[in-house]
Amino acid sequence: MSKISLAVEVAGLELRSPTMNASGVLGMSAHLLRRVYEAGAGAVVTKSLGPEPRAGHPNPTMVAVEGGFLNALGLPNPGVDGFIDEIKELKGEGIPVVASFFGSSVMDFERSARVLSEAGVDALEINFSCPNVEEEMGMLASDAATVERVTAAIRGATDNPIFVKLSPNVTDIVEIARAAENGGADAITAGNTLKGMAVDIDFRRPVLANVTGGLSGPALKPVALRCVWEIAESVHIPIIGCGGVSTWRDAVEFILCGASAVEVGTAIRTHGFEVFRDINKGLTSFMEKNRFKSIEEVVGLAHRR
């Protein structure tokens, strides 16, 4: 029994369990991220950090919809340089840190990758795909050539593992995933939120101040599963599943489709920080029952039909 381990290696990053928080969720401070880790996550993911501090969009930034939420927070963050102390604090406690970051130019991305690597992060997650700031910086994840070029530039700026977080808001996510792999990415995070909107009939206007926002939660899960499935069929680097993971069953579904780990976000609203412990517990008994000794044995099993 004790031979079962939830430990998994993703692109050189050793995780004690295959769960992380999704970027943008609770990643504003070292204190909150420590709580995520203490609850059982294998690593923590920072808020997406940009080259400059950003206040984000005005409220409403989040609205409850059927099966989940829409959010358009607008990437509030203290900037890469403003988060270094928080990263060091987490690293001082031995917590594996994945730094999510974004930029609007290749130079931004390169500089941020260097600064974050020097701060001691364990991996970088490139956020090519926030759907809420498109007007300002264009959604990089929708153009394969750009993704490859920027990924390659970042590859040249850091020795850390690079995860590329992709958007489901594209015609063909496989094409983009291949571009990331060609650019030198070590893993793909699939995916981000799905662009949508909510309208209030009493006030006869969009609810979100940004008009559109990203759909997260259970309603997103089938879309995210499909993304992981398709990418697993065509790239060779590991995949991190993200989108609507609330329970251990969801995690198993993503792993069967080809994910080596999952990121959890919206479920923290309903399940609290405990969601990480619950998923780990459920995964352990699933593996016990099915005589799996490691997560690796389960990864992608659904493809062997």
Partner: protein
């Protein structure tokens, strides 16, 4: 996955009462009941959505009390009877009623949420003492309402001495705690005031519950914008007990995150 409270409802304003030169109470039709200390997210379409503590609850009519300081609060203060606002919530934990000889210390608009708590205590047979602090005599929120409820257990202090005791509420609270044996302290108001009273309460080993304010964006406990120490004010708070306050000592009364998540000095 949502309780009804998560969803925005359009609420019609039933009354607008100008309480002081810069504080306005908006009463609105709403069936949701709240625990004193909880808050609503109030949406002024086209302007912003902000967290506001409940300031009264009566048979399908709730209220919030707003000090007009910024664009959103000014827009709220200018609303008229019959107009509508978007309301979500109540959210957050609210105050626990504890102790048989509680002292409530409210400063400015912080008096509002403690007034609801005082009413709940009185109907539970507890007789709280209430120290209401304001800058000036014409700025004491709910003086009549609390006077009727508490009689001489309402003590007013004003910074300029134009009504009641003269000086800072935190100073008077400390003196009152020395002279009386309060067994629980409830705080809502400027953070520097709350931090000072908490310090005195800790020395006297009296438990405290304080309502904290930070920049709340999502109100669902997800975005982390309202972080203080290991807590989210929107979900784990806004009411912090002594144990929680001890864990945020490096920030409470000292530092807060701005909208971009940068640490800035707490200045009030």
């Amino acid at each position: 996955m949502h309780t009804g409270a998560d969803e925005t409802r359009a609420a019609t304003i039933t009354r607008v009462v100008k309480e002081t030169p810069d504080i306005t109470t908006l009463y609105f039709r709403d069936e949701r009941e709240a625990i004193p200390g909880q808050y609503f997210m109030i949406w002024v379409p086209g302007v912003d959505e902000v967290p506001m503590s409940i300031s009264s609850m009566n048979d399908g009519e709730n209220s919030v009390s707003v000090r007009a300081v910024g664009e959103t609060t000014r827009a709220l203060a200018e609303l008229r009877t019959g107009e509508r606002i978007g309301v979500r919530g109540p959210f957050g934990n609210g105050f626990r009623v504890e102790g048989s000889r509680p002292l409530l210390v409210g400063g400015g608009t912080g008096i509002a949420t403690l007034a609801v708590l005082a009413e709940k205590m009185v109907s539970a047979g507890i007789r709280p003492t209430f120290l209401a602090g304001a800058r000036s005599g014409n700025q004491v929120l709910f003086r009549d309402r609390l006077g009727k409820l508490l009689g001489d257990r309402l003590i007013v202090s004003t910074d300029d001495g134009s009504y009641g005791l003269r000086g800072l509420a935190s100073v008077h609270a400390s003196e009152m705690m020395k002279a009386n044996s309060f067994d629980h302290i409830y705080l809502c108001g400027p953070e520097l005031m709350m931090a000072k009273v908490f310090e005195v309460a800790e020395a006297k080993r009296v438990p405290v519950q304080a309502s904290l304010e930070r920049y709340i964006k999502c109100s669902f406990g997800l975005c982390g914008s309202c972080a203080i120490g290991p807590y989210r004010v929107c979900k784990d708070g806004p009411v912090f007990d002594s144990e929680m306050l001890r864990k945020v000592k490096g920030e409470f009364g000292l530092r807060r995150m701005d909208q971009a998540g940068r640490m800035i000095r707490a200045d009030h």
